[in-house]
């Protein structure tokens, strides 16, 4: 009974929503392009390092993309901690060396001094560091400064071109995959950040539309809708918009990601989107419900 009215609302607000989605899409696209540029810069950086002869790899960990720059620029809450913890600091590696977080070192059964291959070139693992966040990335230090080897870390033997390899002869691939399968990259963090902002935007629009529609809600109440039904109506409407947003967002990401050299959205990304959206909805729905309950129908109709 409520659903059709909610769908009306979705249709009516689709215009505002499209604007919002457009803004978010443009920000994501810009972020993606930026990350893409940084990614190629990293590859060029790595290419300048002289190669070291090494035995053939038995296990390969590789990282795609390269978002070091963006990771360092991210707000504290999202990524800075990760990068600061990951920076080698005084004990860090010198030019042509790699340091890696302890979890990776353990997972790959590495020791300091072991040979690693990054971007098809060889380095020695010079240092390990404890990251405050489990998913901290290995850090490659080439000349001045250092760059986290960004992107998702995968375990496998067939890395794409330009990927970074971290090698440890004699370690099983399966174990490594189990450890590294669900690692999130800074790219995901940026996207999640944009998603959170987008979610807040939706929640905000929703609250605004609620205030603008105060009279409409009053009419519904006068005609016999119960507070819970009105709240359900609003919630369904918001959920409809959110669903629309996820679909549009996924399609956009599908279109934009390859061009910017980013991984395509996977099930994990959709899960993140769903979580963010549910949180935004929960946030958005609680206030109006209380707001509604605190008002008489006459108040709403005034």
């Amino acid at each position: 009974m409520i659903l059709p009215y909610a769908l009306r609302g979705v249709r009516k607000h689709a215009g505002v929503f499209a604007l919002l989605a457009g803004t978010v899409a443009v920000s994501v696209a810009l972020a993606a392009l930026l990350l893409g540029a940084v990614s190629s810069a990293t590859a060029a950086f790595v290419a300048r390092v002289p190669p070291v002869p090494l035995p053939a790899p038995a296990v390969a960990f590789y990282a795609t993309g390269g978002a070091g720059y963006a990771a360092q620029r991210m707000p504290t809450s999202l990524g800075q901690q990760l990068v600061v913890a990951g920076l080698p600091g005084t004990a860090g590696p010198g030019p042509g060396q790699v340091s890696a977080p302890t979890w990776l070192v353990q997972a790959a059964n590495l020791r300091v001094g072991d040979p690693v291959v990054v971007g098809g070139r060889a380095f020695r693992l010079a240092a390990t560091y404890t990251a405050s966040w489990d998913h901290a990335l290995p850090v490659l230090s080439v000349g001045r400064g250092s760059l986290p080897l960004a992107g998702k870390l995968y375990a496998g033997v067939d890395p794409p071109p330009g990927a970074a390899w971290v090698l440890r002869p004699g370690t099983g691939t399966a174990a490594a995959r189990a450890d590294l399968g669900s690692v999130y990259s800074p790219v995901d963090l940026v996207v999640a950040g944009v998603a959170v902002l987008g979610g807040l935007g939706v929640a905000d629009t929703f609250l605004l539309s609620l205030l603008r529609r105060r009279r409409q809600l009053g009419i519904a109440r006068a005609l016999g809708w119960e507070t819970g039904q009105v709240a359900a109506w609003l919630l369904l409407e918001a959920a409809g918009m959110a669903a629309l947003g996820i679909v549009v967002g996924a399609l956009l990401a599908e279109a934009v990601a390859p061009a910017a050299g980013l991984p395509r959205p996977g099930p994990a990304d959709l899960l993140v989107a769903l979580l963010v959206v549910s949180a935004a909805l929960a946030l958005a729905a609680r206030r109006p419900a209380a707001w509604l309950r605190a008002r008489t129908v006459s108040d709403l109709l005034r």
Partner: protein, 218 residues
């Protein structure tokens, strides 16, 4: 159904407090048609809102038949409004996203009545808008919108119809149409009808007039 107010007092807590209604006791017999009138601010809207359960009195009682309604919980009040009360407002208050027929059908659907659309079309026919069923409110004149509102108010065959200045936003011709409709439904279907108005046309007609002044019955 009879509608009864006993010593209704409403005080709005703004500034030093506004006494919008001051011990109003009034009895609306079943099937009666009453016009509530009086100068602006005398409490007409407040009285109708409280009678219809849109807000609660500060003191006093509201009875609908044998049922005391001012103490009902919000859920019960909502169901009472749905099933037993029809409202008509000065500003029409149609839902802008819905067509005329959908507006009229809404209370029917909410009450899970079968054949909501058929009944809505029938009601629109009765208020002379059979041809406008699929028009949105903004495509209708004020008088037409108010007739849709009357049809909607009557959809669930309420025992009580409350109309707050139903002709206040209309020219005299459309106003006369709306009043004629309310009277006709009252005569044919016997809803206890209370209309707040200072429309001279309405006041000139036969029937009971309740005059308020400063929140009291004159």
């Amino acid at each position: 159904m009879s509608l009864r107010a006993v010593d209704l007092t409403k005080i709005y807590l703004v500034g030093q407090g506004v006494k919008a209604l001051d011990q109003v006791s009034v009895d609306f017999p079943p099937g009666s048609f009453t016009v509530v009138t009086g100068p602006s601010g005398c409490g007409k809207s407040t009285l109708l809102s409280i009678l219809g359960g849109l807000e609660r009195p500060t003191y006093g009682e509201v009875w609908m038949g044998e049922r005391r309604v001012d103490r009902l919980g919000e859920g019960e009040l909502a169901r009472l409004r749905l099933g037993s009360i029809g409202f008509v407002f000065q500003a029409f208050h149609l839902l802008a996203d819905l067509t005329a027929a959908e507006n009229v059908a809404m209370p029917l659907r909410l009450a899970r009545r079968p054949a909501a659309r058929e009944r809505a079309l029938e009601l629109l026919e009765q208020v002379g808008l059979g041809q406008r069923a699929d028009h949105y409110p903004h495509q209708l004149s004020g008088g037409e919108q108010q007739r849709v509102a009357v049809a909607r108010a009557l959809a669930n065959r309420p025992a009580v119809v409350l109309a707050d200045e139903p002709t206040g936003n209309l020219d005299s011709r459309s106003g006369t149409d709306v009043i004629a409709l309310l009277r006709r439904f009252n005569r044919e279907q016997g809803q206890t009808t209370v209309v707040a108005s200072h429309d001279p046309v309405l006041l000139a007609e036969p029937g009971r007039v309740l005059r308020l002044r400063d929140g009291r019955v004159e």
